[in-house]
Symmetry: C3
Subunit: 438 residues, 3 copies
């Protein structure tokens, strides 16, 4: 790739879909929650690929309207049926235990147990995912067909968990750029064995960080690996006076299923990130969806709360709750594919390249067209019908570079690619016909 010396010629580190899927597979068995050792183990594995700053925030710390909860860890959890057989066992799947379950060691009849058993009657072979972070409770999640097969009798129930003062753990990875203005990429690391939601998002974020590390960067990139909701609230609380550095942001989730890419706009609706993602998707040639902001979903809820109102959108493939496997054991390693994750990563990369190249230029010879021919920038023989795209690109960049328009504006009005416009902007800068505005 050649191009504008200031923004082009990027040595692109390839990260394959297979590598992404391998990372998902390693992370899959770990029992994650909003706190605890599962998050730490997850971050340790990510740190093998990219350096991380890990933050530990003590239980009880006030964060905005919330408070850091106690730390939750699990050693074991199971239900034994009257015959002593383990009919539900946390060792088989981290989904079997409702997240933040309080310790239990008791024997009880099925009637007493049943209110603590969560199933999906409409999807009897899948284990649901349930949490009770802030209301002390315990519960098990299991297949509905298993529940229906349980005999009457006395059940032994054991939850060997701890809820203790400890920490909430999250990590940052920062890639400095020439500018202190930041692109924020955030993904949640609090879900247990769910591949699409959000191990795929985590893997794509790591892959994006690896690719960006090797590229020249205008922006500083800040990756957040945080527990959902309480993690973004914690990060926002600790960075409240620095959010004005965030120029653009993306929340990544559900990055690996077979569905088309879906972009959810920031609350602002017309932020540059919104236009950049829409531009990339619309030129991708692939089916995709762009939706307006709504105050539900992932951590864009927090970044786009009205007090912050940051220019942060959300990129997923199939959005949360719109696929039957969502928040069930069906969201497993088969549900996410190397190809889909690679496609999501390529799209994130294209979005970053779009943001990087979306500069504002000023035509230094704005009265009439400058004579491109004598600068070697224009064909010598006139009269031909087939004007070359490169000449059109130069004319468009010159015409719209009045200080009001960015290169993305030029791309949208001209229908020309940002690659080509960026390239000719470099040539025009070299010819002293254009200068970049900062």
């Amino acid at each position: 790739m050649t191009g504008n010396p200031a923004t082009g010629a990027v040595p692109d580190v390839r990260v394959t879909g297979a590598e992404l899927h391998e990372l998902v597979a390693r992370l899959y068995p770990i029992c994650r929650s909003i706190t605890g050792d599962g998050v730490r183990r997850t971050l340790d594995i990510l740190a093998e690929s990219i350096p991380l700053d890990v933050h530990e925030v003590p239980t009880g710390t006030p964060v905005l309207d919330w408070t850091i909860p106690q730390e939750w860890n699990v050693r074991d959890a199971y239900i034994e049926d009257p015959s002593g057989r383990r009919v539900v066992d946390f060792a088989d799947s981290s989904l079997h235990l409702m997240s933040y379950s309080t310790p239990v060691d008791a024997t009880m009849g099925l009637d007493e147990l049943r209110p603590h058993l969560h199933t999906l009657p409409d999807q009897p072979t899948l284990i649901p995912y349930r949490t009770s972070y802030y209301a002390p409770n315990w519960g098990f999640c299991l297949r509905d067909d298993v529940l229906r097969g349980l005999p009457d009798g006395r059940y032994r129930v054991r939850v060997d968990s701890s809820l203790t003062d400890g920490h909430l753990t999250y990590a940052e990875h920062v890639l400095p750029g020439r500018s202190s203005r930041e692109v924020l990429v955030s993904c949640h690391v609090c879900h247990p064995s769910l591949a699409n939601d959000n191990l795929a998002g985590i893997a794509v974020a790591v892959g994006l960080a690896r690719r960006l590390a090797a590229a020249p960067r205008h922006f500083t990139y800040r990756f957040l690996f945080i527990p959902g909701t309480i993690g973004s609230i914690t990060w926002l609380a600790r960075n409240q006076d620095r959010t004005d550095r965030i120029a653009h942001g993306l929340v990544l989730a559900c990055a690996g299923d077979a569905g088309p890419l879906t972009y959810k706009r920031s609350r602002r609706g017309d932020a540059e990130i919104d236009r950049a993602v829409t531009h990339v998707l619309s030129r991708s040639g692939s089916e995709h969806r762009v939706r307006d902001f709504s105050p539900y979903g992932y951590d864009e809820r927090q970044f786009c709360s009205p007090g912050f109102n940051l220019p942060v959108g959300s990129l997923t493939r199939t959005p949360h709750a719109e696929y039957p496997e969502y928040h069930t054991s069906g969201d497993d390693l088969e549900f996410v594919s190397p190809e889909a994750m690679a496609d999501t990563l390529d799209t994130c990369w294209a979005v970053c390249r779009t943001l990087e190249r979306n500069r504002r230029y000023l035509n230094l010879s704005p009265h009439g067209e400058p004579q491109l021919g004598r600068r070697g920038l224009y064909g010598a023989i006139g009269g031909r019908s087939d004007t070359q795209a490169r000449q059109m690109a130069m004319l468009w960049v010159l015409n719209l570079s009045d200080g009001q328009h960015t290169l993305l504006d030029v791309a949208e009005r001209s229908g020309l690619s940002l690659d080509l416009l960026d390239e000719v902007a470099g040539l025009l800068c070299d010819a002293d016909l254009l200068k970049e505005l900062t």
Copy 2:
């Protein structure tokens, strides 16, 4: 109905379509015009349902660019054919006499009479409605088939009318609210025996006033029962320095025919009344039409003249001149139905409820989402796909309550009902997470 304590829990007085039709039937025989005893008798009947302030403005009073005309009253009017038979008789229908006809007592041939006879050749069995308020003239209106059957010979023509210095009569009905800002509801009372135009509009206005009287009111409601054109001009002239109190307004006409509801936007086009009516109609599930302002129709012409430019739209069923019975004897008691009038009234009521509840709130915890769970406002078990509408409503209200958006904005962006949004706004105010802006 439960809801926001500030705006909800409304004791709704039912007014039936049958009651509305009964009122129309009582008013129907009266000969109304822009002045005279017919208007006074009409207002007397309305005053049996709602208290009225009746205003009498003397002939000759200058009102804006106009002058109050002489008062017109009729005792009798008829045409006798050569055989002495009354072929046209005002006693049969108030439409037979052109409004503001000057006195006549003469005998003349059919040729001399004919220029004073108004018929509808394309609708030979209907009597047209004609007026000549400002050009002294006399005339009779009759069925075209009757006209064609008139024999040659001498006709006796008698118009026992008076045009004398007197008054223009109109009435106001005011329902005070907590705010001095007003909702104006205006209807014309100058048409003779025409049921849809505008006895149905008058009846719906009376019904709306009765329902609103029993409800808590943020706004003050001002109902005008006025002659068309000269009446609104008179009211505007006498209230010129108080029009800034009018926050929203509706002109009601043609409220009882079988056609779909039609809203004509105010001249501003994007006033809150325009958005409120459009919102109600779009959620009604019924066929309806929304049209841009045009400077013709009913008294919205005057309220929306450029010097006033008030936020006043017009609600009708089939608009003026778009039904064949318009301004003919076909606009009779059969042409309007209890069901249609009740539907128009329900729509007016829903519009008022929408205006009442369309408040602007401020999120008092705008940085991140407030923790609704610890306030008992959020389900304790997480992970479920089926987020409840009530929780979504709270998130939407919190997210958009930045001082820029009203509850109607939230309803339009979220697709949630204003009822639900209003209800949760009340809950959030109670939880000190929200406050109403005034």
Copy 3:
């Protein structure tokens, strides 16, 4: 035509399509280029129809980023085949010689000659049009089937041209109006024997000037007959401090082919000229196209360069490069028709009339409707369904004449014709109900 005394009652000088075609036919044989006697001869012929101010700008004069080139003239040019037969002869068509070809007098083999021969392999019977204004070179243009038939052997090549210090020639024709604000009409006069591009545009401009000369004019009209690119750059350079007088502008080209009219918006996109042309085309009842600005085409490129950004659009029939005959000998006298040129002229005339009448008025009686009846402006008998267009026009003009809207705004909102609105605006001014804002 009657109408507003200030703007109407125009004595329209008819210019027939036959006259336009006759002018095209006279100009067709002349060898024009961006400089030289061909341009002067062309302007001499135009000056028989309309007075011209001819400007001569010396070679070497700096104009914006460019410099006036040497003047090019041709006495003779041909290629003789080995048998002495002239196989390409400038005397047959001015297209045969590449514009600005340097002098040559040589004998050479076909292989040496071939790089100087330009053909259209896909259109073998057409001669292409080629130029090399700024890179010294010579070349011949010929039919590809002729090229393919050339035998091997020695060819005599003769270009008896001169490139000498001289002048660039252009002309202006100015029709003063009551206002010093100008409507600019520009067309290029640098193309050789090409009928549609741009003899038709020149002829339509002359026709428009003749029609406007006989009409009362609010605006001053300035017609430019200039060589493409370097001509508009020269004119802009010499008038740089007076461009703020240009209120509206049109570049005319390709005005005579059978295709539908095509308007290309100014760079501003919403200038009054853009709205006026769109209004005229949309009411024409004929197929037409309206396109956004792009920085390629004709001299709108220069007028709309960002330093000037003038409100200048471009009117063509089929745009440049979109018809197969473009820049070939197929663009001949048969390719343009009297009917198409007359239609283009009528459209230009309608655009000018629209601009002339698109005034801003102020309602002097803005509170309520003024009483039109007592001024004789309104029908005396009320109640009729069929409101007359003239009454509606008066109500619309009064309602929207708040100082914000022009008559074109009124036309677009009301759907009424500008003719009628202009006429009633005159009546309302006479009645002291309206005054024109300046």
